[in-house]
Symmetry: C2
Subunit: 325 residues, 2 copies
């Protein structure tokens, strides 16, 4: 079961009344510094703080009304939690969200404030998928997966649709498009949308260093897992294994996979503060970090990075500010 | 010499190729908390970090080509400096910018990086207008005033034009519009644009507490100055006296003037970080601060605040983050 550009266009029509068409921002200084035309897709300005509303809403909208009425369940390290809670609230149905106990406080609070029931678990010792599946079975809830679902990927793909459409309005075609990746749903959906409209563009997922399951899976030709217990400042990008559907899409459409360190991510967040006046969370800054740290040759190119979310604690944001001295 | 809606429409046409149409953002939580529909006009996402590019470019564009070729001079505590330097660079002419020696380092650096010559002065003992006038006379430079010029006010007024147009596309008319004020150019231009299209809307300038020259001038029926030496965290809002043209417009069109404390401004910056994922500088957060601190009754209303700029040092931004605990 794959995802087509038509699925993404259908998702865009469903999402039009509820999501914000986020701006594609440029900065003259950054462009001069890079010798490239860099566009930043500011999904950190999306409602509820990240692109995740797109996939969650596109999924909840397609549930059978009777099933939807019983409610939904999701597991998430943060942004998908708030997104699923928000989508459920828009349809007036209950949501149960399974979240790691060490998720950023702001994300836990936001999910609860959206009316969801939050069930916490220990990231090191418990299996969130099992907890979610048990809740789904017990209460008859529909699972809204974070990435391994064609409806979710089509929803996230609308980010790519908007990128290509907004660039086309400027008379520009993208050469390179980068999006952060954990399970790979965003990077897969964006790849489908971009490659359908700009077949020569190179699309890259960007992962944390040491959490490069996509890069190793692409090399192996099959999905491989990360070593357990690897940490990264990018709390949103800590899934153990690539999603099955995202990987099947990505192995056909991605030009490779890139990875960035915590320091590279913090530097990208600092540039986001200083030049783009945006609050970008660590995971959301990974794609920008890959460009700034030279992981891909952008000279003379038109490059798009997705800044996927803005849910960051003050302590982490202060670490980024500290790098500006 | 006043400013009309036609002047603002003409400015909008001039500015279309160079300024960004900044988004009008909302946040579900903030709306619930206020019991209002709050829209934030994100001019902190404007090119070169503030709305000031609008007025500066609209002025430089209207100089006689021969005069323009000799170059321009401006005095500014920061954003108007970068804006004038950028506008001059777009026309390929020299710019000399007179800036206070204690302006935020980021603003001094940005102005120099834009190719302008920066002349610094002591805010406590020297008169920037005299320095600017002397430079203009010596070198035959055209003065680009920060606010007391109909061309500048018309440029800033395009912010108000976009607000009303973008709300109209949503089927909404503003009840209350707030913009920060120093000399009053932005608040005057916005008032002309808003009142021409939504005559019942109330438009308020917002000043720092203790720097409320507009409020006292409105009460006195004539322009009065601030006590010398009053400081505020809002470095962009420290002009001694209202501008003559802005005051003449404002006394006809403003519903009054509001003022906010440093702590109220820091809280607004913190909310900007947490809920809007935006970096808003202290002066730029004044309008939002007035709403959050209850300076005007917004219950059930459609309210627009202009977040006018994003040029803030890390130390000041950290003070705002600290208020989130």
């Amino acid at each position: 079961m794959s995802v087509t550009i038509d699925d993404i266009r259908a998702a865009a029509a469903r999402l039009a009344p509820v999501v914000r068409r986020t701006p594609l921002l440029t900065d003259d200084f950054v462009n001069e510094q890079l010798g490239a035309r860099l566009y930043l897709k500011a999904e950190c300005l999306q409602r509820f703080g990240s692109f995740k509303l797109r996939g969650a809403y596109n999924t909840v909208a397609q549930l059978e009304p009777d099933a939807r009425k019983r409610g939904v369940v999701a597991f998430s390290s943060g942004n998908h939690a708030a997104a699923t809670a928000a989508a459920a609230r828009m349809f007036g149905v209950p949501a149960v969200i399974v979240m790691p106990a060490d998720a950023p406080a702001a994300k836990l609070a936001q999910t609860r404030a959206l009316g969801a029931e939050v069930v916490t678990y220990d990231r090191a010792t418990e299996d969130r998928e099992a907890i979610g599946a048990a809740l789904a079975a017990e209460r008859g809830l529909a699972m809204v997966k974070p990435f391994d679902d064609a409806r979710v990927i089509a929803g996230q793909g609308t980010v790519g649709l908007e990128i290509v459409e907004d660039l086309a309005a400027l008379g520009v075609t993208p050469d390179i498009v980068l999006a952060c990746a954990s399970g790979g749903g965003l990077a897969a959906g964006v790849a489908v949308a971009v490659k359908a409209q700009a077949p020569d563009a190179k699309v890259y997922p960007v992962e944390p260093v040491g959490h490069d399951d996509l890069a190793r899976s692409l090399a192996a030709g099959a999905r491989v897992a990360n070593a357990p217990g690897v940490r990264s400042i990018a709390d949103a990008l800590l899934v153990a294994t690539p999603g099955e559907i995202p990987f099947e899409i990505g192995r056909r459409l991605w030009a490779g996979a890139l990875s960035v360190s915590d320091d590279e991510i913090l530097d990208a967040m600092a540039l986001g503060f200083q030049r783009f006046r945006l609050v970008i969370e660590p995971g959301g800054a990974a794609a920008l970090a890959a460009v700034l740290s030279g992981k891909v040759d952008v000279k003379g190119k038109t490059v798009v990075v997705v800044a996927s979310g803005g849910g960051v604690d003050t302590a982490t944001f202060s670490r980024a500010l500290a790098r500006l001295g």
